[in-house]
């Protein structure tokens, strides 16, 4: 039986857009979409696709399905992943999904994964570069009752189990778990591959299914704003200090000590 890998990706506003373009609409509790800010595949999710491709480099008959929950434009995130070498895509889009939280996202993805069925490995980015939460990947594993390994820098499949190098503060662990399993990917994995043009062109011909809440057997009360477990009370921009605080002191030593003290006070060290 060929290996079936499902990788989940999210499209986010470009995290490297100039800071001046980032504005929060506090009343709407949303980030104002700025003109000229591109939508990109969340950095770690692109690596999740890369991790899937690396498994496929070894097990050449493996199949990779890309799943993304988002507005219709999220289709681009799926197409980019297909161009890298994935085989099929599923777009989950529905107004009911909007304004959810990590839990509702995990729930929707879990239902979609169950509907796709017959999978061996689930791959996620360790966190999305907009909300930076890091909950969905492990959360999906929990909902589906699967083993999970998080923050991976390498993923390999051997004899029905997954062998993962998990990043730790001071090094890494090698962790094994039986398939089916979920793994979240970290940036230590490396760089996502650059697709060959032929692959980009072929991506246009690959199948992308589109499913709504009803297709997943979910109703509005379970997802989106109605289904959240975490309420967003407030979203705001902390006032950034543009002024450079120059350390005063009689001697260089004094200045250095003052700096260390300030760093401590600001909880930076």
């Amino acid at each position: 039986m060929p290996l079936h890998i499902i990788a989940c990706v999210k499209q986010v506003p470009d995290p490297e857009a100039p800071a001046s373009a980032f504005k929060v609409d506090e009343a709407a509790k949303k980030v104002t979409p700025a003109a000229g800010v591109a939508s990109v595949v969340s950095q770690f999710d692109a690596l999740a696709v890369e991790a899937a491709l690396r498994v496929k480099d070894v097990a050449s008959d493996a199949k990779i399905t890309i799943v993304s929950m988002g507005p219709a434009a999220a289709r681009d995130a799926i197409k980019h992943s297909l161009a890298m070498g994935a085989d099929e895509g599923v777009l989950l889009t529905d107004n009911a999904f909007e304004n959810g939280d990590s839990y509702t996202t995990a729930l929707v993805l879990s239902k979609a994964i169950q509907k796709i069925g017959d999978f061996d490995l689930l791959l996620f980015g360790r966190q999305a570069t907009d909300w930076d939460a890091g909950v969905v990947g492990s959360g999906v594993a929990e909902i589906l009752g699967l083993p999970s390994v998080s923050i991976a820098k390498a993923v390999a499949v051997q004899d029905g189990k997954v062998v993962v190098e998990r990043v730790l503060m001071e090094g890494y662990d090698t962790v094994e778990a039986p398939l089916p399993c979920a793994v979240t990917i970290s940036n230590e994995l490396g760089e996502p591959r650059y697709p060959k043009l032929q692959q980009i062109m072929q991506a246009a011909r690959k199948q992308v299914s589109v499913w709504s809440a009803a297709d997943l057997g979910l109703d509005a009360s379970q997802v989106g704003a109605q289904g959240v477990r975490l309420n967003l009370e407030r979203l705001y921009q902390p006032v950034s200090e543009v002024e450079c605080e120059v350390m005063e002191g009689e001697t260089p030593d004094e200045k250095a000590q003052k700096l260390a003290q300030r760093l401590r006070e600001e909880k930076i060290i």
Binding site: E16, S20, A21, G36, A38, K196, L197, Q198
Partner: protein, 701 residues
């Protein structure tokens, strides 16, 4: 009467002609096989210009009259013109060999006689030329020239041809004593020598026969040898010159992406994967390269210690081409049809090398200096396209830049600017079809910290001069130049189509740009996709505005200024005078020139996508050019290109740690703005401050 006119000479004569002739014909046929398989391109456009260039470049040897290589120029002109002139003698010899009645001497009579002194003169000049070449190769040994057995064989054969020609001619004169023989003054002099030494009739006849047949054999041997030597340009150069590139040199040709996708199953690739993916003209280039090395000696990559040598690229192309060509052995079924190494013939990327392909900055210096009209840059770029689009193999920094353009619509990762930021405080409006010019700001002009002040200076000047213009603001996409130069033709086409559509929808007719790369793309390349616009570079417009009195430079700019020509502006697009006219209009400014300026300008190092690609090794090209600029003693280096100025801004602090002593780098717009003391619509201070080490000029790390 030729020694070949009667038995047994005539048998030998015809054997030689037929034997060598057949070998030559077979060689040519085999060599043509890959040409037939290669890409079809049409080079029949602009026929009158082609004929004109054929005369100028090939027959009049115009490129050999450049001062830089005067020595080689002289010797080559002697040898080439000698070759042309002495064709008459060779033809005469052949016809005479068949029958004396057919000889040119007989048929052309006095015309031939009048030609005889010319031929004898060139006998001498060719030998002088060969002597000069030998001297050069024994004592001077310039690095650019390949000195090997092949080279000496050619020189020797040419020399022997002259010797046998003169001696044979002299012996014929000695034997036949025609009344006009003194026209062949040199051979006549040698004939007198035979008189003086009392050469016997029998000896003379034997010697004449020997030299006559030697000349014939050497001539045909030379002909047969040519395709197997690096001197094969003798056979191909006429075609290479006639079918030269007729477009501006900075232009790259598009790829039919859809078409190739359809043929993907048959193994079609986007770039050049195998040697037969090249066009017949590119293959002809490989066979026309004489390895003179002028390209190499003027290549900024080679001169700064990189792997790339344009000459080596041509040689590598030739190796790959010949490896994919049937040989004599295969014709005679002695060996396989195409010689193989490890089972596969080498591909161009194998013989040319990854590093070399990426070292090229597309400055076009090689093409400017090449006397035989080889097009080095498109060949390199075709292999680069293969690496990028078919293999996805490229330096990390190139990959990052391409991904930037794809994802963010511009190559400037990490910019803290948005496209509209530069307009703050200036009365610049969006283009709506009513204005005369679209000012194309460009990704650099809007998002790169050093270039934003230049855009602002230009805008202020335009406002002051009352020029009608508008901008695209946030709607301006990337023009796609970095993508095309980095080899991603697909990404370029997407950007180009997007840009053309935006401009057409808004009714843009005239584009004004401060960027030579943009200028090149809009003017010369967008028409490949249906975008036809009138394009003006800001140096041209500023020069015109000054000349018309709409801008009055009154404030003194007391600086010694050296102008650096951007490759894409000067060499590729012939804009050399306009920026200088702008600078000349600055009161109290003193202008100096670098030796490598105008058409021979030395690249700043940012071309070919190298603004975003780290150099492989050796000295940084921009440092080399900065040194050159600094050596003029100028206080300011003036540029008209957003890449050039960034290269200088990097190079200047690298070479001069003391801030006080540093040369400043400024765009011509910034300099003019200071001189004009532009007021715009508000009394704003000039963007640049020339009196002190201004903060706008960012000091490098």
């Amino acid at each position: 009467m030729a020694p070949a006119n009667e038995f047994p000479g005539n048998i030998f004569f015809y054997l030689v002609i037929l034997g060598f002739g057949a070998f030559f014909a077979l060689t040519v046929i085999m060599r043509l096989i890959p040409f037939v398989q290669g890409k079809r391109v049409s080079r029949l456009d602009h026929l009158p210009a082609r004929v004109r260039d054929f005369f100028l470049i090939m027959l009049a040897q115009s490129r050999f009259f450049r001062r830089k290589y005067w020595y080689s120029g002289i010797l080559h002109v002697f040898i080439f013109w000698g070759f042309m002139v002495l064709l008459i003698r060779s033809l005469n010899l052949l016809l005479d060999g068949v029958s004396a009645d057919l000889s040119l001497q007989h048929l052309l009579g006095d015309v031939y006689t009048a030609w005889r002194p010319v031929m004898d003169l060139f006998n001498v000049l060719v030998m002088v030329g060969v002597g000069m070449a030998a001297f050069q190769r024994i004592f001077i040994k310039p690095e650019r020239i390949t000195i090997n057995r092949d080279a000496w064989t050619i020189l020797s054969l040419i020399f022997l041809l002259m010797v046998t020609d003169v001696l044979g001619n002299s012996l014929e004169i000695f034997r036949e004593r025609g009344d006009k023989d003194y026209f062949s003054f040199f051979a006549f002099g040698v004939a007198n020598l035979w008189d003086t030494v009392g050469l016997g009739r029998g000896t003379a006849e034997a010697a004449h026969t020997v030299f006559w047949f030697s000349h014939l054999v050497i001539l045909f041997a030379f002909l047969d040898y040519l395709p197997y030597s690096k001197h094969s340009h003798v056979l191909t150069v006429a075609f290479n010159v006639f079918f030269r590139n007729s477009e501006p040199t900075g232009v790259l040709q598009p790829i039919d992406i859809e078409g190739i996708m359809e043929r993907a199953e048959e193994g079609a690739t986007f770039g050049v994967a195998k040697v037969t993916d090249f066009s017949w003209k590119q293959m002809l280039d490989f066979l026309t390269c004489t390895e003179c090395g002028r390209c190499q000696s003027n290549c900024p990559a080679f001169l700064t210690g990189k792997e790339l040598s344009p000459k080596a690229i041509q040689h590598a192309g030739r190796v790959a081409l010949l490896a994919n060509t049937p040989t004599m052995g295969s014709i005679l079924r002695l060996s396989p049809a195409v010689p193989r190494t490890n089972g596969e013939p080498p591909r161009p990327i194998d013989t040319m090398g990854f590093e070399s392909i990426w070292d090229c900055v597309t400055c076009g210096s090689c093409q400017y200096w090449c006397p035989v009209m080889i097009e080095h840059v498109p060949t390199i770029m075709d292999v680069r396209r293969f690496l990028v689009m078919d293999e996805a193999q490229m330096p990390e920094t190139a990959q990052a830049a391409l991904m930037q353009i794809e994802q963010r619509g511009h190559p400037w990762r990490g910019t803290t600017f948005t496209r509209g930021d530069w307009m703050e405080g200036l009365e610049v409006g969006l283009f709506d079809g009513s204005q005369e010019y679209l000012l194309w700001v460009g990704c650099s002009g809007a998002l790169s910290e050093r270039n934003v002040p230049i855009t602002q200076a230009l805008a202020k000047l335009l406002i002051q001069a009352g020029v009608s213009f508008g901008v695209l603001g946030d709607e301006e996409p990337c023009c796609g130049d970095p993508a095309r130069r980095l080899g991603n033709e697909y990404l370029f086409q997407m950007q180009a189509q997007q840009a053309i559509e935006v401009m057409n929808v808004k009714g843009v007719k005239k584009i004004l740009t401060a960027c030579p790369h943009g200028y090149n793309i809009f003017r010369n390349e967008y028409r490949q996709f249906g975008g036809n616009f009138v394009v003006v570079h800001h140096s041209e417009l500023l020069a015109q505005l000054v000349q018309e009195g709409k801008l009055r430079p009154r404030e003194g700019v007391e600086q010694t200024i050296v102008y650096h020509d951007s490759c894409y502006l000067a060499r590729h697009n012939d804009i050399i005078g306009a920026p200088r006219r702008v600078l000349a209009s600055l009161p109290k400014a003193r202008l100096v020139e670098m030796e490598r300026s105008g058409m021979t300008t030395f690249c700043c190092g940012a071309g070919g996508g190298h603004m975003w690609v780290e150099e492989s090794k050796g000295e940084h090209i921009n440092n080399a050019r900065t040194k050159e600029a600094m050596a003029t003693g100028a206080g300011v280096v003036a540029t008209a290109c957003p890449f050039c100025i960034q290269m200088f801004e990097d190079g200047i602090p690298a070479l001069e740690p003391d801030e006080e002593k540093r040369m400043r780098a400024l765009d011509i717009a910034e300099l003019l703005e200071v001189a004009v003391a532009a007021r715009g619509k508000e009394a704003a201070a000039p963007t640049s401050d020339l009196s002190a080490a201004g903060e706008e000029v960012s000091a490098g790390p």
